[in-house]
Amino acid sequence: MSAAPPLLLDTLFGEYPLDQAFDEMRSADGDVRAHYHALAETLASLPPEELQRRKQSADLSFLTQGITFTVYGRDEGTERIFPYDLLPRLITAQEWDRIERGLTQRITALNLFLRDVYSDAKILNDRVVPRELVYSCKHYRRQMQGLQVPRNVYVAVVGSDLLRLNNGEFVVLEDNLRVPSGVSYMLTNRRVMKRTFPQLFSSYGVRPIEHYPQLLLATLRSLAPEGRPEPNIVLLTPGVFNSAYFEHTYLARQMGIDLVEGRDLVTHDNIVYMRTTDGLKRVDVIYRRVDDDFSDPLVFRADSSLGCAGLFNAYRAGNVTVTNAFGTGLADDKAVYAYVPKMIKYYMDEDPILNNVETYLLSDPVERQHVLANLDKLVVKAVGESGGYGMLIGPHSTAQQREEFARAIEANPRNYIAQPTLDFSRAPCLFGNHLEPRHVDLRPYILFGDKVNIVPGGLTRVALEKGSLVVNSSQGGGSKDTWVLE
């Protein structure tokens, strides 16, 4: 810390608290970690007005680009700017290497699990994963049983949520195997950050992520049905009212493929077509951003008009690839999650590189008793929910909320899991002209086609409210650009 005037840095840190939680920037004794030196120096060298000016110019850039998301359950202002923090989160090459290997291993095992469950179900017969757990999962799709999917790839696009524990270790909190979102924020954050801190960025040597859309396109192309050398690839969106609509348009544009809605598609003789100004055009690969339930009213929910009638039969006939496949939500069920380390062992005979978070299954009577007795210390989650919905955070809950959850657990134990309240890592965020630590997670994006591709980094999500542990954008979370260093 020679170059930065220590006084300025002290003002910047102000009352910055450090406790047992891992701080991304500072070690327990308050020193700035080695790979954060250059960032700290840059911050200390900028006058406060200059920081504010850069913040404002970045704000404006997000607004005019229309980088927004939709919050459900509110009447007005359906579009909001995605909140973000100006300071990048840094990950060293060594840390990233472990994450990358761990995720590759995990996604491989999850795909093998899905293929197994939907064909021979060996892992169930060998009693490694309880049969009743799988068949009682609400995302298990009987319709997928015995269906051959291209390259045996069930999940091609994954976003796994990682946390860093007090000892600095990264663990997996959950896998998102249905329609993970947020990758567009990763890409746009990077664009804005490059303009906001150009010198700092180039001095760090940050590994690029901008080629993600190209990799995604290549992944989708590799999954095209046989005999379709020039596949027509489309992105299926629920439409303009979906919370991730911005992302759908962004990805379609970046890949140069058509963005279709269910009403653009028709099936005839088990072939999917889209309606174009030149008549009907055959569709070969669908990158689906519509949930299973809403994809085909003839097979799934009959009251949905978002999907395309007949899509599933065309898929079954092998005339169109839909990715991610249907029924993949089975493997990101929060109770099935507890068995992922066993899957890795079972299918790959390896030890997991990235560990799970300790998880209590409430269908087990002993664990259930323990959880019910300790509701004020644990986090309880509904197994099939995502986005921070259907969750009880024990230490931050009221007696009444705990009462409600206890009743719900007793009524349907299979529907819930519990985990210890994690003291996961915090990273500095800019508030006014000083820094405060906030909890962060990391969602890297994994692509699985003819091979596994993970762009270095991902979306760092921030719980922007003081003391909050919820990073979901729908619940007041924001994001940070994530720099994986060379």
């Binding site: 058509d258 005839h268 309606r275 009907l280």
Partner: protein, 320 residues
């Protein structure tokens, strides 16, 4: 291109054209009201509303500023500027991947500008400035559309929307103002009729272009000739119809499917009607009916475009 996308681009463009038309006509009408020797404010307002296609809820209440405010900021009125800009943006949002980032940013900025609290303040301090800045926003959008978007089918559908809307709106306006043109009120002083005629030209941003062709010697017959039959001026109906024909040809070239005879002959008929006539013929006949006929044909062309490119039946598409 996807039919739904073509539909959105077409309407995005139509809505912006409509907004621009409303702003310009409002601006000109308010300017004419300054010359008190002419028609009453009420009469002028009624002409304006008729020329905009008689949208409901705009009956004269004696307060010009309030009326103008309504015509600009009413989110529910189909002719109002905010309604049109909202509609354009909503359509753009649904085809965000088809238009360029620059286009989206311009349109988004126009939308935020018109909905900001400052817009109302600016409006009450200077209506002219407020209207001018809206027009600027639309022009910027059209400019970046020309320079940043691929001139493929999507672009052609945008052109189609713009020129169809313009031809229709100009025909409506001429039909409404035609009595003013040819049956001027008796007035004490000279000069008022000149203002009327120039005002009409300004509604179509065509005063300067008119002067280049005919000099400042304005006459009713020449104005009508210019706005109906000129083939070089972008606000003249004949120019618009030329463009529509050109668009259909271009869509066919890039798509490869032949448009149905009905559509070709529909546009061809309107085209020929304007190509093979003279202003004298039109004036000798029923001018009003002639203008009305243009509008009818525009509607018919719109319908054919939709039947063929957007709402076609699956059976017909599979058969071909």
């Amino acid at each position: 291109m996807l039919s739904r996308v073509a539909d959105s681009l077409y309407w995005m463009s139509r809505y912006l054209e409509r907004a621009e038309n409303t702003v310009r006509q409002l601006d000109v009408t308010m300017g004419m009201m300054l010359d008190t020797g002419g028609a009453s404010e009420k009469a002028r307002w009624q002409l304006l509303v008729a020329a905009l296609g008689k949208p409901a809820g705009l009956d004269w209440n004696g307060n010009l500023e309030a009326m103008a405010h309504k015509l600009v900021f009413d989110n529910l009125n189909h002719a109002a500027v905010t309604f049109c800009v909202n509609g354009a943006r909503e359509n753009a949002r649904q085809v965000r991947e088809e238009i360029s980032t620059e286009q989206w940013q311009r349109l988004n900025r126009l939308y935020h500008q018109i909905h900001s609290p400052q817009a109302e303040t600016q409006f009450s301090s200077s209506i002219n400035d407020a209207l001018a800045s809206i027009i600027d926003g639309i022009h910027l959008f059209k400019g970046v559309s020309n320079t940043t978007m691929i001139h493929g089918q999507g672009f052609q559908f945008m052109r189609l929307g713009r020129y169809l809307e313009r031809a229709y709106a100009t025909a409506t306006m001429l039909e409404v103002y035609q009595p003013v043109l040819f049956h001027p009120q008796e007035r004490e002083h000279e000069g008022y009729q000149y203002l009327e005629l120039v005002g009409l030209l300004r509604c179509c941003t065509s005063f300067e272009a008119y002067c280049q062709v005919y000099t400042a010697d304005v006459s009713s017959a020449r104005i009508l000739e210019f706005l109906l039959l000129n083939s070089d001026f972008p606000h003249a109906i004949r120019y618009c119809v030329d463009c529509m024909r050109d668009v259909i040809e271009s869509i066919q070239r890039t798509g490869g499917r032949r448009p149905p005879a009905e559509l070709i002959s529909g546009i061809g008929r309107l085209h020929a009607m304007l190509d093979f006539t003279t202003i004298d013929e039109i004036l000798q006949g029923d001018t009003s009916a002639f203008l009305h006929n243009i509008r009818e044909q525009c509607l018919r062309i719109h319908e054919l475009i939709y039947r063929y490119y957007v709402h076609y039946s699956i059976q017909s598409a599979l058969a071909s």
